[in-house]
Symmetry: C2
Subunit: 488 residues, 2 copies
Amino acid sequence: MRLIVPLQGVVQGRGGLFVGSLIPCCLFYFLQLYLKRRRSPPPPDPDSSTELPRTSSRSSRIGRVRVSSRAVPLAKPPDSPYYIGLERVKTDPYDPLTNRDGIIQLGLAESTLCFDLLQRWMSENLMDSLMLQSDGFDISSIAMYQPFEGLLELRVAFADFMSRIMGGNVSFDPSNMVITAGGTPAVEVLAFCLADHGNAFLIPSPYYPGFDRDIKFRTGVELIPVHCRSSDNFTLTVSALEQALNQARKRGSKVSGILFSNPSNPVGNILSRETLHAILSFAQEKNIHVISDEIFAGSVYGDKEFVSMAEVAAASGDFDKSRVHIIYGLSKDLSLPGFRAGVIYSFHEDVINAAKKLMRFSSMPVPVQRILISLLSDTRFIEEYMAAHRQRIRDKHFLFVEGLKQIGIPCAESGGGLYCWVDMSSLLTSYSEKGELDLFEKLLSVAKINATPGTACYCIEPGWFRCCFTALADEDISVLMERIKLLC
Amino acid sequence: MRLIVPLQGVVQGRGGLFVGSLIPCCLFYFLQLYLKRRRSPPPPDPDSSTELPRTSSRSSRIGRVRVSSRAVPLAKPPDSPYYIGLERVKTDPYDPLTNRDGIIQLGLAESTLCFDLLQRWMSENLMDSLMLQSDGFDISSIAMYQPFEGLLELRVAFADFMSRIMGGNVSFDPSNMVITAGGTPAVEVLAFCLADHGNAFLIPSPYYPGFDRDIKFRTGVELIPVHCRSSDNFTLTVSALEQALNQARKRGSKVSGILFSNPSNPVGNILSRETLHAILSFAQEKNIHVISDEIFAGSVYGDKEFVSMAEVAAASGDFDKSRVHIIYGLSKDLSLPGFRAGVIYSFHEDVINAAKKLMRFSSMPVPVQRILISLLSDTRFIEEYMAAHRQRIRDKHFLFVEGLKQIGIPCAESGGGLYCWVDMSSLLTSYSEKGELDLFEKLLSVAKINATPGTACYCIEPGWFRCCFTALADEDISVLMERIKLLC
């Protein structure tokens, strides 16, 4: 359209044939001259190479074969401080007995708080779960092909478990569920199914830095941060969503959905029923999807009730539920990241059907399914475990936050998750992204602490760090505070 | 360029300013008039919808939210006879004791021939492999995050195992290896890393019908069949590759590599060292990749020696090894598809680095890694198992092929794999794809046999069927032959 704008005067009668001729004529004439000068000899026919002699000299001229352009960025070392920190810990991990000068890991959201309970359960039940103690053990029960989306018994067990940890007010239908090899492929497969390459999801920021890889690596879906602020404890609001959507649409982005974590990662706050309702109402109005990552749903330790988006969707007849999709997994709430257990729960039949087929790439091995069927169905153990899990996070959280408070470092209010969102802005030499990254490096190199800086989470206020505390012993927290003091 | 072609005469001096003015002037003038007439009132601003009242009537006007365009085909039922057959078996599976009239499964390449050995090993060693029988069991050894590409001990064990089953003449470097959740993601991740969306691989046909899903579903890489013929037992030749490559390039396809199975699937023939050398030489000359799927390498039962492409690449200093990539897994040779154990082996550093990162979507759970470390390291068991596995496939193959021969149905010559490539052209009512699909349907509905028709494998000669025989008991083969006789 731009090209013809100069001629609008002509068309609208405010010019004549002469003006209408001269302008395009000149433009075309000079364009031709320009193109003629630039014209280069025709490129060699790629097929002509087949007629060259097959000599080693030719081979050596060809050089090294190249990988795809999409693999090139993946082959490079990471540039996000989140991954840089994780890599650095591997080279020199802190150990209270063998490496007291090593780097303390606050970058990875994993919990060892209830390993005693898990150890007991596994010691007592693992053989039974694989049916190895009975005479009826049949190798075909673990060795053969099974449906990629997970055994029905496992989906039934997961549905019951999810309902249980989410307060029992919501039920999950196993036929709306697909089992995935961890939460990560669950996120990716949903992104693939809900948005096309180049489309976008709105995502409240600060957000979990792994989402960049989970979503962008392969699906080509963009993430548009909806900036939340410390002034209201980084809580998502519909007006912020509305503004971000309008801006995105003005830039020409096609927004396919809203993705958020609840409890939020990295802040740890819990979305209220009213906020969930408002988000769903907004998504309905804009006819976009809602993806609720509820992987920390059972790691809630505050007074605030956790409500699943599935419950809100099911409770109201006004909504088209098919736009609601839940991500879940056992890496956080059951402290089993090594088991690679994730779930896609969706009210959209097409999403479930497509995800089932995509599970050929991310299915869970049958032996692990058998173990998890037993574990999740052991309701007495699950009740005991969940109570301990919550209580122990609450205690550790208190210890961690109090420790920081005593050295003058505040944390955002939180009610869930295996981490705190820590305001270290008082330690910045300059209140900027650079200042934050300098502090990140100083924490790593001087204090020997790996904490994830806010910039990796797209936080717009410098100085915030995500600190995961559920793999720390109480003694480690004392060591940690001494180290941070050095920087104060 | 097309638009300015009419003005070339002007530029080349065979016209003048007048002609050069008049033509573009007229074109622009009429274009403006045309556009003005077509101009419609401005479309409603999508963002203005935010001002509409949020009523349920508006919601109901929006309708159901849509999935991505790439998920739409995945959400539909399968259209390949390969998957149709597999689905049909699920509804009515043959069982010699409980469902003698059910459909006999010849469509799935899985083996139960050595389940007695596996059952014994698992009963005796599974607890040890998870360290559950010793006092030193530590839940953190299976529960925590581990490198997505697989534990080093597992990669070492895999390297040794692969070398062993491939005749001991080739060694594998664990640092060139990535463990995947089955052979399927191994294929996909390689396709992603070696070719961009819209690029293509040459693939000798008939080929394994699952490749269509494994490769096309998500990576957008095309497969160009290189048709092989019964006259030379469907063996791949370099001249056929050359011809296919030239044709593809003429059509504008960018060919990034050659993908093939060795032993071939569905035919079961084994590529000679000379053919492998010629393929690699061809790939070197064209500067494309070579992907050798060797997932049946240990399921060789004939007299012909199996040679890995890794051996050929390593043996010759003339080649740029970095173009060679191997797919392996335990679903076939160790009869453990339920374990979802695959391997990418690549000489290209960038491919390994990129694949490691992509393993966040397809990593193997740690408990399964622990079991496999023990299993693959138990060399005495592995030797016993592999000898039995080969001998029992050979015996079953003989029984199956002889049975067919007696009712006048020949098979292609084969030396590996869990299947035969059966020439049922004598049973066709018409020598065409339609005739073949009619026979497929008749086999399913009348004889109650699910065999994969050649058309699903892109075979250009009608009447060939892939029949997997390694999950059949000897008695089942008799039942099968009686049923096929009905159609003769």
